[in-house]
Amino acid sequence: MQTVISTKELKSYYVLDVFGREKVVKAVDDINIDVYENEIYGIAGESGCGKSTLLKAIFGIIDPPLRLIAGKVLYFHNEQVYDLYSLNSDSRRSLRWKFISYVPQGSMNVLNPVVKIKETFKDFLDSHLKGKTKNEYYEMAKEHLTNLGLPPKILEAYPHQLSGGMRQRVTIALATLLNPKIIIADEPTTALDVVTQRGVIQLLRDIQSTLMNTIVLVTHDMGVQATMSTRIAVMYAGKIIEEAPTTKLFQDPKHPYTRYLIHSLPKFGDKSKRSSAPGSPPSLAALPPGCAFHPRCPYALEKCKSEIPALRSYEPDHKTACWLMEER
């Protein structure tokens, strides 16, 4: 399998200066992942676990107070390896949308409210392509929407005239405009109603199966993860605690936290009470020592309170970061 993106010991913290006192939020803490061609790689976890920050770091949008502390992000594009953080801003910009693009959260207003949709399409096209007239860009946008099965007349609309679901489809259309190798989707279905969610998921899946590209899907919704992703990484408190192909993860979750996540999903015919992890996720600014999950973990050992477990393969393709695995 061909790797398209890989992170090496990636650390990215929010460093806030609260009137003289420095406050560090370890949102992405030592993350190593490899994302392959033609897969949907899911990143799951509760809100505030650092998923979105990981996406930002992968995408190369580190704005203060977020800082890159250590590590690398590698892009594999056209037989070449690009070390993202050693590129200058122009070459970074030129990789965007052609190699890697982005679908924002469904709840965000990412379309410029005072111009028509076609203007946004044109802006994206003429920032990455050269030497075409305005009308040629409009034509391209029209064609692209038709290919995705979206009505081309929405190009003439303003964002506020479209429904939330349609706006999200527009952002997906924008993300696929230049046929990128990899699409990063940050909670693309959040804030949409269930019916619309299905449509959006279907669209993403169709795109993936025709383009054979890669989607990195971040969502806290394990149901969506189960239906879409081929491989899932579970994040907790800035670290990846388990990574496995979807079926494996759902059939045989190793980490107690993953088990909670999966068991909180409703199952058809099962009337027993859904249990979720007791307590709430820790603040990333004040992590407990040792394994960050230990205060909520019913199986916590003495060791868990002092030492951080590493992410290791205990079975082929299945990585876990938990001391319980060592004990077995």
């Binding site: 806030l16 200066d17 009137f19 003289g20 704005d63 203060p64 107070p65």
Partner: protein, 284 residues
């Protein structure tokens, strides 16, 4: 106290704060003045700054330094009256409009809209020119207060609107708190910083207004204030005659005062807006 310490870290705030403290000190000094500010020819006329008269004397035979102390005191007092009075109106209007909503809201906002749209300055000048002889410092303060609340009432109203949607409003209402006591007890802590920031802006506006009115000769010129000091100097052609200490003193003082108040207000609003704070850290 902690807030003040935090704020003083900001150079802008520190500058504004110390200038203001200095001016307040001057205002207090006026109580120990050896001269009566209303009497003429108490000192030799038109002398440049010297040890006995550190800022020189005027063509009216007054000591510029002691005159300045009275002027600062009166201008500050007048603008405080205007600021406090218009704050009271702004808070009441903003709270009632924001909390009650409906007809009360529409009526009060219409009122504040009209105040924003009407050329208030002209109306103030109209009143001033007709009541000139009777306009005391206090009544000028009150007059400016009546006209200075409209914009701030809007700001407070929108803040109340957003507070109303928060949980504690419903909790207190359900637990039987009386509306008015709810508004003052629960909302005031949130509104205080906002009220304070608009207060500074309003004080600065009132001082500027007083200067303008004095220069237009629609304020009683015998009352010492920053505006009348400037007006006397202009009247006696201090500029042409080269009495720079006479005209320079009120000009420099008021420019410093305005800059100080302005820096205070931006520093405080930056402090209040966490988003701005993060950006400031980001740049550092």
């Amino acid at each position: 106290m902690k807030v003040l310490k935090d704020l003083l870290r900001d150079g802008k705030f520190a500058f504004g704060f110390f200038v203001l403290i200095f001016l307040i000190f001057l205002a207090f000094l006026s109580f120990f003045s050896p001269y009566d500010p209303y009497r003429w020819n108490v000192v030799p006329r038109d002398t440049p700054p010297s040890w006995s008269h550190i800022l020189g004397t005027t063509s009216r035979g007054q000591d510029v330094f002691w005159e300045l102390c009275f002027a600062v005191r009166n201008s500050l007092a007048m603008s405080l009256i205007a600021g406090v009075f218009s704050r009271i109106i702004a808070i009441l209007v903003g709270m009632v409009a924001g909390y009650r909503g409906g007809m009360a809201d529409r009526f009060l906002m219409f009122l504040s809209d009209s105040f924003l749209v009407l050329p208030l300055f002209l109306i103030i000048v109209l009143i001033g020119s007709m009541a000139k002889a009777r306009l005391s410092l206090v009544s000028l303060g009150l007059l400016l207060g009546v006209f200075g609340w409209a914009w701030d009432a809007r700001v407070i109203r929108s803040q109340v609107l957003s507070l109303r949607e928060r949980d504690f409003t419903y909790t207190s209402l359900l637990s039987g708190a009386r509306t008015m006591s709810l508004i003052f007890k629960e909302y005031m802590p949130f509104l205080t910083p906002l009220v304070f920031a608009t207060f500074i802006g309003n004080v600065s506006w009132a001082i500027g207004m007083e200067i303008t009115l004095a220069i237009l000769n629609v304020f009683r010129i015998e009352i010492p204030s920053l505006g009348t000091m400037l007006q006397w100097a202009l009247n006696y052609q201090a500029l042409l005659l080269g009495y720079w200490w006479w005209i320079g003193t009120p000009v420099v003082t008021s420019v410093m005062l305005f800059i100080a108040l302005y820096l205070l207000s931006i520093s405080i609003s930056e402090y209040l807006d966490p988003r701005m704070r993060v950006q400031r850290i980001g740049k550092a």
